[in-house]
């Protein structure tokens, strides 16, 4: 064996190392993607539960609407709530479809992009939801009092009280939206805000994105030559 043979064996060592490192990277990528899959499954379960809860609400509101179709003072508030519930349901179903359609054999970056987009959409959706809640409070009060207790909120609380509540709720919408917009740039720098966003959009989605970050490090990349 001469020095050239030694060189050939050294090249063989290099090839062996390349193969082993690729195998190791693929195994680690698969391991992290399993974590992603588990987190996405948890997130899907949560969303499915929300869909299941929303359906009876829709049915109850539907029957309330049918019962009060000739009474606009009850019909209109119930319709507002029904529309809100329908939008909620549609958004949950859309999120579920996105999560179910994730293909884990795709490049990590592509899965990352889809989950990050979903997270941003969820956050926007939640901002609108919380901004609209004060506006929905008077219709909810009217419908709940009539539907559950058989009481007429207009007669019991008076129209001015309900009108003031509605106006305050209406004023809260732009205020809350402005607040959300003002806080958005600080989310990345304030840990408490980041935790709040994680809680609102779902910890499972955050875990999935973290695991994807880790998996991205093991995505097949051209290795440095020597």
């Amino acid at each position: 064996m001469d020095f050239d043979t030694l060189q050939r064996r050294w090249d063989r060592l290099n090839e062996t190392l390349d193969t082993r490192l690729d195998q190791q990277s693929q195994a680690l990528r698969a391991l992290y993607l399993q974590t992603v899959e588990r987190a996405v499954r948890r997130s899907s379960l949560g969303l499915s539960a929300e869909v299941i809860i929303t359906i009876p609400v829709l049915l109850l509101l539907g029957s309330f609407l049918a019962a009060h179709i000739t009474e606009p003072r009850f019909f209109v508030p119930a319709l507002m709530l029904q529309l809100f519930a329908v939008v909620q349901l549609a958004l949950h179903i859309h999120k579920l479809v996105v999560l179910r359609s994730l293909d884990y054999s795709e490049p990590v970056v592509s899965i990352q992009k889809r989950l990050a987009t979903l997270r941003v959409r969820s956050l926007r959706h939640l901002v609108w939801l919380y901004a609209c809640l004060p506006l929905l409070w008077p219709p909810l009060l009217i419908v709940a009092m009539q539907g559950l207790l058989g009481l007429d909120a207009y007669a019991l609380l008076g129209l001015p009280y309900l009108a003031v509540n509605l106006l305050v709720g209406l004023a809260c919408v732009p205020l809350l939206l402005w607040l959300a917009r003002a806080l958005t740039p600080r989310v990345a720098h304030v840990p408490a805000l980041r935790r709040l966003v994680d809680d609102l959009t779902g910890r499972s989605l955050r875990e999935a994105l973290d695991a994807l970050d880790a998996a991205a490090a093991f995505e097949r990349e051209p290795r440095a030559e020597r």
Binding site: F3, L13, T16, L21
Partner: protein
């Protein structure tokens, strides 16, 4: 699970050049456990020195320098290194350096095993295809000194590797 952003450049460079560490460990340690310890030690030393790394120079050259110096110190301080070479079956369990053709690598390491620490580095860097100037830069000796030492090593290896 998230990586500290301050560590990201280091980890990215380490990941891209990790083969260097395995190869240095292969040359300096016969035992898989020792190799693992040495790789860890090299990573620690690289991290400690990373603040002084000048990005104008090639990372791989800087990494070789730190890795080889660490390996030489490790070899000096470790008595375990003097234990006989492990049998091939044990080598197969060594993970990254396990190979479907162990005889080849066994012979390769046997050929390098008896060289002194500096000559091992010389052979390693030569087999890696580095020019004498770069080898001299990594080992802190002149390019002509590299040439002289290398021809001596080649001669010794030729004698050792000659078919009997």
């Amino acid at each position: 699970m998230a990586v500290d952003p301050r560590h990201e450049p280091f980890l990215a460079l380490l990941e891209a050049h990790q083969k260097i560490l395995y190869k240095v460990a292969f040359v300096y340690c016969a035992q898989p456990d020792d190799r693992q310890d040495l790789v860890q030690e090299m990573i620690v030393q690289l991290w400690r020195s990373f603040g002084r790394y000048d990005p104008r120079y090639r990372f791989s050259t800087w990494m070789y320098r730190i890795a080889v110096n660490t390996a030489i110190s490790f070899a000096r301080s470790s008595r375990r290194r003097q234990q006989p070479l492990v049998p091939l079956d044990a080598e197969l369990t060594a993970g990254l350096l396990a190979t479907p053709e162990p005889d080849e690598l066994w012979e390769l390491r046997q050929a390098i095993e008896e060289l002194d620490s500096l000559d091992k580095a010389l052979v390693l860097l030569t087999l890696e295809g580095h020019p004498h100037e770069v080898i001299g830069e990594i080992l802190g000796i002149s390019a002509s000194n590299v040439g002289t030492r290398l021809s001596r090593v080649r001669q010794r290896l030729r004698q050792k590797l000659a078919p009997r």
